[in-house]
Symmetry: C2
Subunit: 472 residues, 2 copies
């Protein structure tokens, strides 16, 4: 007996050379796995505890958000339209951020992602041992990393100054990451996995980076790290080591298949090619880097050499949303405009970047990223009767994929199934109370704001001035 | 007695030097006009037939979509990721497009816009005398133009060939536009207004352009026209007249305050400056031109010289959505990346482009674009308890405006009031049945698709090949 049978759907499997689209298709699920996918008549098993009639709907793999900081979501909208996003906008406020704010904000952020069709979150933040409990409770698939760095408390670092590094801070964070790994790696048949998450080559010593690598080898996990993430990082690297990030990482043996290189904002074409050729993956955060830097990262160069490219929504204080439909659309259009070529980054390629290619980038292509027998049952159901998906045509030209990538905003996602469980149905979260989560998050945010009132105005940031001018 | 009083809201009036934000504000409405706006205690009149408690909500002017072709929405998703968008993708399908398809598709498209907070639609299509009935029925504010050109039936024009122009076609379309003007201009106390809409300087003779101008003068309306909308147009102009569009328009007396110049995709900095200095408005369609051309139009140059810049969602076959939240976000980020400057096109400026500056561009700033006593009551209510707007902070730094521009997708719009009437409430359309409109539209689309089946495959377009490869 199957647990769930979804039928009459347009199934986009993301299997095979094309996208593996099956009109009037069906997907069967038992436990946390996909049993079969195909035309209804071709299925071996048809009896299920529950059937979903998905007529006029698309069934597709859940989207993979390969880089998200849910712990700072509570600072959404507090740093954009400024130079020096981190020093000029984020850090002043982050001084008032507390653990409760990180945890409560994270929950709302995960809800935001699920409501927009994200089923896998590569969550990169701290305190991850607390944040991960949100993923456990809500039912999301999570690949988590507790951020490791040697940075003293934030907030007082001026633009251009070399950061002080504190090995004691590093060791404490490293220990936290190890504890996380021991406690959570493999939780619920692998629904939650852990990675090592050094924050960046500029934010810690070579020694600590190498310690991190040994742990990653021991657990056979990837290393999730910001690389060449901005001119700030490059400046730090040149001041500290006299070389740029990628050369440094190559020299210390960090450029290999274990590396998930996030951003590559400042990577040259040569450097990007090297990252790809060494077998590392690229995680591209188009919306975030577009807003906070005004830059289109070199993904076009990367995909000449590797398909291991995934998309990430990054963070709410500067993106300002965590929505993979938003990332797909921005990834395509920003790269079209960068190349001055409307054929660049077509819808079908971008859909791969949010599903099967993301799974490959994470080394999880045996588990997620497509709808195939034996894979984990992470699927989303999208309503094609929503005006933004109207009309739905299959012949003589199918328009479903372009409309998913260029028109849908995420609110067309009707139901979300993760690890075989219905986590959202008819846009209602099942395992958590959305309204309560937002209310608790709002209260936590107001406490942070109250603490920030004590020092924020005197800092006279770019945005506080704009507020005085009545523009914010 | 007031008709409607909205209270406890964060009101973004878009009045004054800043954005005129009033926390805990109230807006009162009688008939189709705003009576007062301010702190609740300051209101002269408080008794109303209906009150809306807008706690945790933003009340702001309805968004203005200054350029939309609702009549081709039914071809959504059928032309993108290709060179020569018009000849290569749109026109092959447009051969099968019928009047019923245009009208039914238009209705769904208007619903899409309203659900994303659009209250004014500058609709530019034909048959406008039929399409306008959708606006009349649903309750939208519409500034309509029946497209005028001298183009024979579409579909067989090869890339690079000079179009044949047919004066008989032009006279018929000119007559249709005149009839529209006489019948609809000023309908319902001006809720529907008409403009003249020559399709472009390349698609009609100078004589007809000058006739159009005379009519616009007579009715004291603007002229809504594509200008320098692509390399296709420039090529036609150079072949036919030996000069580029903007020089030609200046020579025939078309560059003045009456002109709404749509796109300017191919305008040089000098040409853009000339358009601005002559007093014409620019209508910028960031999403559409990004997808179909891979180009960021020269809005940054335009706003150095004029604030009369409005945003438009253009058309569903190539944008692929008609959503002003999408346009605001793309306008900002594309221009940031074009300028490599995260400070470019900040959220507060972009919000003006979708409201008060759009109204100025259309010459309607006495009626719409801000919340002020005596203006038409076009306001939207946005839920800040939606995860994408979370959290909502007012002190020490307000984050509402950046989150509206960079995070909201449009689905956060809860209610829409146009001309004093509630047109959508709690995301439910009041005056039309959304489900039925989509159903009727889908049926009309399938008829078009059936007709297209007869010839489409043999045309072997770029996209039909991609479908054969399983990518679409």
């Amino acid at each position: 007996m199957l647990d769930l049978l979804i039928k009459n759907a347009t199934v986009i499997t993301m299997e095979g050379k094309g996208l593996g689209i099956i009109p009037n298709g069906a997907v069967s699920i038992k436990g946390n796995k996909i049993v079969e996918v195909g035309k209804y008549d071709s299925l071996t098993y048809k009896k299920a505890h529950r059937e979903i009639d998905a007529e006029n709907k698309v069934v597709m793999p859940g989207l993979i958000d390969a880089h998200i900081h849910t712990g700072i979501a509570i600072l959404r909208g507090l740093s954009q339209d400024v130079d020096n996003w981190m020093e000029g906008g984020l850090w002043p406020f982050a001084k008032a951020l507390d653990e409760q704010g990180r945890i409560k904000g994270s929950m709302v952020n995960i809800i935001e992602g699920i409501k927009a069709g994200t089923t896998t979150f590569c969550d990169y933040d701290n305190p991850m041992d607390k944040i991960v409990e949100n993923h456990a409770a809500i039912g999301s698939r999570a690949v988590v990393a507790d951020t490791i760095n040697e940075m003293p408390e934030k907030g007082d670092i001026k633009v251009g100054e070399l950061y002080p590094l504190d090995p004691a801070v590093g060791q404490q964070k490293f220990k936290n990451a190890l504890n996380l790994m021991e406690k959570w790696h493999g939780y619920k048949d692998g629904r939650i996995r852990c990675l090592m998450g050094p924050q960046g080559p500029d934010m810690m010593s070579k020694e600590l980076l190498l310690e991190v690598k040994e742990v990653a080898k021991k657990y056979n996990t990837k290393i999730h790290m910001h690389v060449a993430q901005g001119d700030r990082e490059i400046l730090q690297m040149e001041k500290r080591y006299g070389k740029r990030s990628i050369q440094y990482l190559d020299e210390i043996g960090y450029l290999d298949e274990m590396l998930l290189a996030v951003h590559l904002t400042e990577a040259t074409a040569e450097e990007t090619k090297l990252v790809a050729q060494r077998g590392a993956s690229m995680i591209l955060c188009s919306g975030s880097i577009g807003i906070i830097d005004g830059i289109v990262p070199p993904a076009a160069e990367f995909i000449k050499h590797s398909e291991r490219l995934a998309l990430g929504s990054d963070q709410a204080p500067g993106n300002n949303c965590n929505n993979m439909f938003n990332e797909m659309k921005f990834t395509s259009i920003l790269n079209k405009c960068n190349a001055k070529d409307p054929k660049a980054f077509p819808s079908w390629e971008v859909l791969k970047m949010a599903t099967i290619n993301a799974a490959k980038a994470l080394g999880m292509e045996d588990e997620i990223g497509s709808i195939a027998p034996g894979k984990k049952a992470d699927v989303i159901i999208v309503d094609t009767k929503s005006p933004a998906m109207f009309p739905a045509l299959h012949s003589p030209q199918r328009n479903i994929v372009p409309n998913l990538v260029y028109s849908a905003s995420g609110s067309e996602v009707e139901s979300v199934i993760i690890d075989g469980k219905v986590v959202m149905e008819d846009r209602k979260l099942i395992s958590v109370d959305e309204k309560q989560a937002v209310q608790e998050g709002q209260e936590a945010a107001e406490k942070i704001a109250k603490r920030a009132e004590e020092f924020y105005d005197s800092m006279e940031t770019t945005l506080s001035k704009k507020m005085k001018e009545g523009l914010l």
